[in-house]
């Protein structure tokens, strides 16, 4: 019998950093040291798995999590009773086989003293239903909930599918997809998001898994009142923050700064906003007038970045993106994630256009406050599959602009309109480890 161990609560980062250091008395001396990165929890996905009446083979995914919530490279040990068989392990995924006669069991995964348990039940979660796991099911356990019972898990007709399953949860079915796309989704390890329409994984590749990541060259500018040698290490911190977030979310992109920080001549005036109205409707976006190059993503650390609020009051923003390639960052009021956030805008995260401008504050279906594109959250660090996809392929992304990678534009549909299928929705997320490369340009128009 395997018992679930009590896992430690989410570590309080602030406690580690500022213990005994009230806000008003912090100084540069005597601060407590930080703990080294360490494994704090194992999370198995899903937590509960329902096997159908005939399905015997399934895959389970487990995440080792460090103290700030990122995946931790740990050696996982799978513990299972004799009634089940461990078929294969690959990274953080294991495939099991459970004989038909076993009603239920528990499978544990452990690492460095942490443990989590998957409960496997031989029953459908709802009456008169079966869970038909698509062949080749991978992390996220994509599957389909069907009426009645089936002779095998690989469905041939989804006319009676009533729901999808991902992350161990039920999702609603949109449209009437054919069986093949579902199977394909499962084969590439895509978890079907509970709020998103089915995405036809055959349409386009996910470059997020590319290794090494694609380089995005940026050129940093500032004004003459700043010593570039002083600004450089601070900018590099923010570039590494962006690259760390991209790395942990498997975005497949890496920002690389041109070694020279350039000084804006100051004439014409250093832009603090995009030319004309801050946000013109497409295709009228304009970059600030200035001496900026057109073949690199420009990041201007400006003395101020302005916005206009109530009663025509001018206030300062922390950052702003001006199409096609200029990011303005308020040198005197920014946060470490400002650069990463603005790069997200530059790489196509601007939908729903005119409503949230790519910000996730009001989104449902993902963790808006944890998302990098939240406009104010202190927790932002996550990017969904749908967002990563648009960063690579959306026609609004800098990466699809003619000067960067001519012709690479797969035409993602916007967040809330257009036929589903070409792209995962913005809220669609993934837990896959590898996606087979598919030539983007081969997709149908």
């Amino acid at each position: 019998m395997i018992h679930r161990l009590a896992l430690p609560s989410t570590p309080a980062l602030l406690t580690a950093v500022l213990v005994g250091c009230p806000l008003d008395s912090c100084d540069d001396s005597g601060g407590p040291s930080l703990p080294a990165p360490e494994l704090t929890a194992i999370q198995v996905v899903p937590q509960v798995l329902y096997l159908g009446a005939t399905e015997e083979t399934f895959s389970v995914h487990a995440r080792a999590v460090d103290q700030w919530g990122f995946r931790y490279p740990a050696t996982l040990t799978w513990l299972l009773p004799a009634s089940a068989t461990l078929l294969t392990t690959s990274g953080d995924t294991a495939q099991f086989q459970v004989p038909l006669g076993v009603p239920e069991l528990e499978i544990a995964v452990s690492a460095d003293g942490q443990l989590d348990v998957l409960r496997v039940l031989r029953a459908a979660p709802l009456p008169d239903m079966d869970l038909a796991l698509a062949a080749g099911s991978a992390p996220g356990m994509a599957g389909a909930m069907v009426r009645g019972r089936r002779d095998n898990g690989a469905c041939t007709d989804l006319s009676d599918v009533i729901a999808f399953v991902g992350h161990g949860r039920l999702g609603r079915l949109e449209g009437a997809p054919a069986c093949d796309p579902l199977a394909l989704v499962a084969q590439v390890g895509m978890a079907i998001h509970e709020e998103g329409p089915l995405w036809n994984a055959s349409a386009q590749a996910i470059d997020g898994h590319s290794d090494p990541p694609k380089t995005v060259g940026i050129e940093v500018w500032t004004t003459a009142d700043v010593d570039p040698s002083v600004l450089a290490p601070l900018v590099d911190d923010e570039i590494d923050e962006a690259n760390a977030i991209f790395h942990h979310n498997r975005v497949g992109l890496r920002l690389v700064r041109d070694p020279t920080i350039r000084l804006h001549p100051g004439s014409p005036p250093v832009p603090s906003r995009c030319d004309g109205p801050d946000y013109k409707a497409e295709p009228g976006w304009m970059a600030p007038a200035g001496p900026f190059p057109t073949n690199l993503l420009v990041v201007l650390y400006a003395p101020t970045v302005t916005g206009l609020g109530a009663k025509s009051t001018v206030f300062t923003r922390r950052g702003l993106f001006c199409r096609p390639n200029v990011i303005l960052i308020n040198r005197l009021d920014r946060v470490p994630t400002t650069l990463a956030h603005e790069v997200g805008h530059a790489l196509g995260l601007v939908e729903p256009w005119g409503l949230t401008w790519g910000h996730t504050n009001a989104f449902t279906g993902l963790r808006p406050a944890q998302n990098l594109m939240h406009d104010a959250s202190s927790e932002r660090r996550h990017l969904s599959l749908g967002q990563i996809y648009r960063m690579h392929h959306d026609r609004r992304s800098w990466l699809t602009q003619p000067l960067f990678t001519p012709g690479l534009d797969c035409g993602c549909d916007p967040y809330s309109s257009g036929p589903p299928g070409n792209c995962p929705t913005l809220v669609a997320d993934f837990r896959a480890t590898k996606t087979p490369p598919i030539n983007c340009t081969s997709m149908p128009p």
Binding site: L13, L14, A16, V17, L18, C21, P22, L23, D24, C26, D27, D28, G31, S33, L34, P37, Q67, W68, F70, P233, L234, D236, D237, I239, D240, E241, N243, A244, I245, H247, H248, Y279, G307, G309, A310, K311, T313, F315, T316, R317, R318, G319, L320, L332, D333, R334, V335, P336, T337, T338, T356, W357, H359, N361, D375, A376, S377, S378, E379, R380
Partner: protein, 161 residues
């Protein structure tokens, strides 16, 4: 007490409901502020004055606390990323220096936003709060105080909007 009674009490005392408090926090914390955050606070009128005044007078409000958490998380991410050999090879400040690098201007910035919101609210109590802050000179963060004081001076000396 009935829901209506609670709302009446909140209105009478100037207390903000949770959504209203969130609206104030959103204005203080927003980065691009494209969702009308300032307008939302101004709509609250005089009832937002105590919360904004508290920020203006240097209270360690929730926005500041969560900002510190954010900066600390960033520090840990960068340090870990570099420890994996994936980032630049340069070192990184100690944690307190890193947090303070962002915290000082951040606190000044939210004070300036509190000033702007109060000025836009424009009620007698809002103006009193601005004058009080200017008279007390309790704005913190010496390196940034000039900015906030200058803004206060420029607005308080103007007629109400």
């Amino acid at each position: 007490m009935s829901r209506a009674g609670v709302l009446l009490l909140l209105a009478a005392t100037g207390c903000l409901s949770t959504p209203e408090r969130r609206a104030v926090d959103a204005w203080l914390a927003c980065e691009e502020c494209l969702a009308g955050e300032l307008d939302s606070v101004v709509t609250l009128g005089w009832r937002a004055v105590p919360a904004l005044s508290s920020v203006l007078n240097g209270a360690a409000d929730s926005v500041t606390r969560t900002a510190v958490e954010q900066f600390a998380q960033s520090y840990l991410r960068i340090r870990h990323f570099r420890s994996l050999g994936l980032g630049t090879m340069q070192g990184i400040d100690d944690s307190a220096s890193f947090v303070l690098r962002y915290l000082a201007p951040h606190r000044a910035a939210i004070q300036k936003r509190a000033v702007l919101a109060l000025w836009n609210i424009g009620t007698p109590s809002a103006y009193s709060a601005l004058r009080y802050a200017r008279a007390r000179q309790r704005l913190r963060l010496d390196s940034q105080r000039a900015d906030v004081t200058s803004l206060l001076d420029s607005l308080v000396l103007l007629p109400p909007p």
